[in-house]
């Protein structure tokens, strides 16, 4: 029972973690990409479609990684080369991603997809890969020279440029990494979490991932903690919803009244818990302004146009 719950929490947490760790790198380089939801949707439809076509969920996931990265380059071109507003352009990427994925996915509605099964301890390869990714990203950012350059570019693009650090090139790379991770996160949804295609199946997870980065105050390990917290909330509310259908009878008598009370809560209210939790978490984090100010990359969201 507990094992099953842990596995389902891990499965719910993984797409959030993947999308958030990619966005973290992008934001560490000073680029706020609000297009995570759109990139995830593109990844989800690509992973599903390619997985179905090739019969290999692995190839589907790889394709989603590539599509996510390429799609994010649209955003990068506008914000980095044309110095457009990052907030507005990120919204545009989300709207475009949801639109394009809906259009492409039209053919897949109702089709059963391929599923990436568990390989170890009941968990799938992408989950294990995500843990490796955490170690790699944390090591990269804080113990390598290129990682130092990423942080430098996010802290002061003017100083970085003066020292000859290639600001724009580093930001392109960081955005593409974010796109690749979001693509993989999307593919996880359509290949592991619920192996099917539903329009807008990302259901706001891209936005929650953005909130997770703030929650984690731009620290990789805390992103994992946050993702598990949200995974637990998601699974918790789903469990309660499911309980009304079955399995409750087996519980001990003293719990009956609580379970009964929970059962009477409308499912819509339970479904809104992850979203409300996001709001609450954001408020709690932002109340600690000092913490927020120290950790926020100083150039986050600011366009950079070098003199020549």
């Amino acid at each position: 029972m507990l094992e099953a719950i842990l596995i389902s929490i891990a499965t719910a947490a993984t797409p959030l973690f993947l999308a958030a760790i990619g966005e973290l790198v992008s934001e560490r380089a000073g680029v706020l990409n609000l297009g995570v939801e759109g990139m995830m949707a593109m990844g989800a439809v690509t992973g599903f479609g390619i997985g179905l076509a090739t019969g290999s969920p692995l190839i589907g996931a790889l394709a989603a990684v590539i599509v996510g990265a390429v799609f994010s380059l649209l955003f990068a071109f506008l914000t980095l080369t044309l110095a457009s507003n990052q907030v507005a352009t990120g919204l545009a990427l989300t709207l475009l991603g949801l639109g394009v994925s809906g259009q492409i996915g039209e053919a897949y509605v109702g089709q059963p997809g391929v599923r990436m099964g568990p390989v170890f301890l009941g968990l799938d390869p992408i989950f294990w890969f995500s843990l490796v990714l955490l170690v790699v990203v944390a090591w990269f950012l804080f113990h390598t020279k290129p990682g130092l350059k990423v942080r430098a570019v996010g802290d002061s693009h003017v100083s970085a440029h003066a020292l000859g650090v290639p600001v724009i090139a580093i930001r392109y790379a960081a955005v593409a990494f974010g796109g690749a991770c979001a693509g993989l996160a999307g593919a996880y949804l359509s290949l592991v979490y619920t192996p099917q295609w539903v329009e807008a199946m990302t259901a706001g997870r891209g936005w929650i991932a953005l909130a997770l980065v703030v929650f984690a105050s731009w620290r990789p390990v805390r992103v994992l903690v946050g993702a598990w917290l949200f995974g637990a909330i998601t699974i918790g509310q789903l469990q309660i919803q499911a309980m009304s259908l079955s399995t409750i009878a087996g519980f001990a008598a003293p719990l009956d009244s609580i379970v009964g009370a929970l059962k009477s809560v409308p499912s819509q209210f339970l479904s809104s818990l992850p979203y409300l939790a996001t709001v609450v978490v954001l408020v709690l984090i932002s109340r600690n302004r000092r913490l927020a100010l120290v950790n926020t990359p100083a150039c986050l969201g600011q366009p950079f146009v070098p003199d020549r």
């Binding site: 506008l78 044309l82 545009a92 809104s272 979203y275 709001v279 302004r289």
Partner: protein, 389 residues
């Protein structure tokens, strides 16, 4: 490589042209798109963008769809211009619709001349209250309004879903998830019943957009909003409190989204259902940017985006393309608009040579002055606007 040169003053020419260039680029992209899916671009673009304008009833439909887009888009102009990223208008629309529907659903017997005005006021109140949450959190704690306002969209939609499936479901409605149909007194009157569905909400939207334009361009309140968005520190120096400006922007844009919501259900739908908007609140973001954040511009932009919805439906019928393609077009419009806006503040220069700062370390090469000048003459052939005395 593309390089940008900052203009000494923003170009008034491109400020006007940029939305049109963006629309032209969207059409070109549309041609490529239709070619790619094997449809005749000419027929497709005709079906998409021209056909809906040729018939009376579809002009009515255009007004119906443009109404919420203009109302919300004009409000979002105010929010975005003042630096408040309210992207939760879709949720505020839903809450406005719910609040306005309190009257016909809970007091179906309250039927007189005041019914509709009361509904509209409640709709604005509902939208404003829902928007006040991210506004207040931003003003008080500095919480990112982008994420909070967006999260509340999902909550509002789930709340509406619960209402129409639960307590507000029409008992005589064969278990369909919908409320009772609104009485005639609770319905936005049509402009001309004989020719189509367009209702007076369209008139309200136009008047609201023009009033907001005046406020923004000509009054002290409008000034405070503009200066806060451009230069928050200068605004504070001018004595305009950032918190108050944030609250004003959220309450106003929320109220207008709520108004759009109640007008939509009382004018176009006639009851509450689980889904009352095909994403008007999000499409209105595109309206605001296509209208260059000018509420008067939002009128035109709202009509263009309304056309994209109609075109999507028309294309589905005549071409057999999914109406989802409307979303693709809408996304492309916003992308191109944002890209073209760069022309307002920068000159774009194409450079052949490697660019300092992004080039890898290369051995110090020697370039003589003559050779150098040739490269630059070839690369920098962009006409100067000739200002800067």
């Amino acid at each position: 490589m593309i390089a940008l040169d900052k203009r000494p003053n923003p170009s008034a020419l491109y400020a006007t042209l940029s939305p049109f260039i963006a629309l032209a680029l969207t059409l070109i992209a549309g041609v490529i798109l239709f070619l790619a899916i094997g449809k005749s671009p000419a027929a497709a673009l005709y079906a998409y963008f021209i056909e809906p304008l040729t018939e009376g009833w579809s002009l009515h439909e255009l007004a119906v769809k443009a109404t919420p887009l203009i109302l919300i888009g004009a409000g979002l102009c105010i929010a975005f211009l003042s630096g408040n990223w309210n992207i939760g208008a879709e949720g505020q629309l839903v809450m406005g619709a719910i609040a306005g529907a309190l009257v016909p659903v809970l007091m179906p017997e309250f039927r007189n001349i005041l019914t509709l005005p009361l509904m509209l006021c409640l709709g604005m109140l509902g939208g404003a209250l829902w928007a006040s949450v991210p506004g207040l959190l931003k003003a008080k704690f500095g919480t990112s309004e982008i994420l909070t306002s967006l999260m509340l969209v999902y909550v509002a939609q789930l709340f509406l879903d619960w209402l129409v499936r639960g307590p507000w479901r029409d008992p005589a409605g064969y278990n369909f998830p919908q409320t009772v149909r609104f009485s005639p007194e609770a319905t936005m009157p049509a402009i001309d019943y004989a020719s189509g569905r367009a209702h007076w909400g369209f008139g309200i939207a136009i008047i609201v957009a023009l009033a907001l334009w005046y406020m923004l361009a000509r009054t002290r309140r409008g000034f405070s909003l503009r200066v806060t968005g451009q230069s928050p520190r200068a605004a504070r120096f001018g004595g305009f409190s950032p918190g108050r400006t944030t609250m004003f922007a959220f309450l106003l844009s929320g109220a207008l989204a709520g108004l759009a919501g109640i007008i939509e259900v009382s004018g176009a739908i006639g009851q509450l259902r689980p889904t009352i908007s095909p994403g008007y609140g999000f499409t209105a973001i595109i309206v605001a940017f296509l209208g260059r954040l000018n509420p008067a511009g939002a009128i035109l932009a709202g009509l263009v985006l309304a056309l994209s919805y109609l075109g999507g439906e028309a294309a589905q019928i005549t071409l057999g393309v999914s109406d989802k393609i409307a979303r693709v077009f809408q996304g492309m419009i916003l992308f191109f608009v944002l890209g073209c806006d760069t022309l307002i503040n920068y000159r774009i220069r194409l450079k052949g040579a490697s660019v300092s700062g992004t080039a890898a370390v290369t051995p110090a090469a020697t370039v003589g002055p003559e050779q150098k000048r040739d490269i630059d003459a070839a690369a920098g052939a962009v006409p100067e606007a000739g200002r800067h005395a």
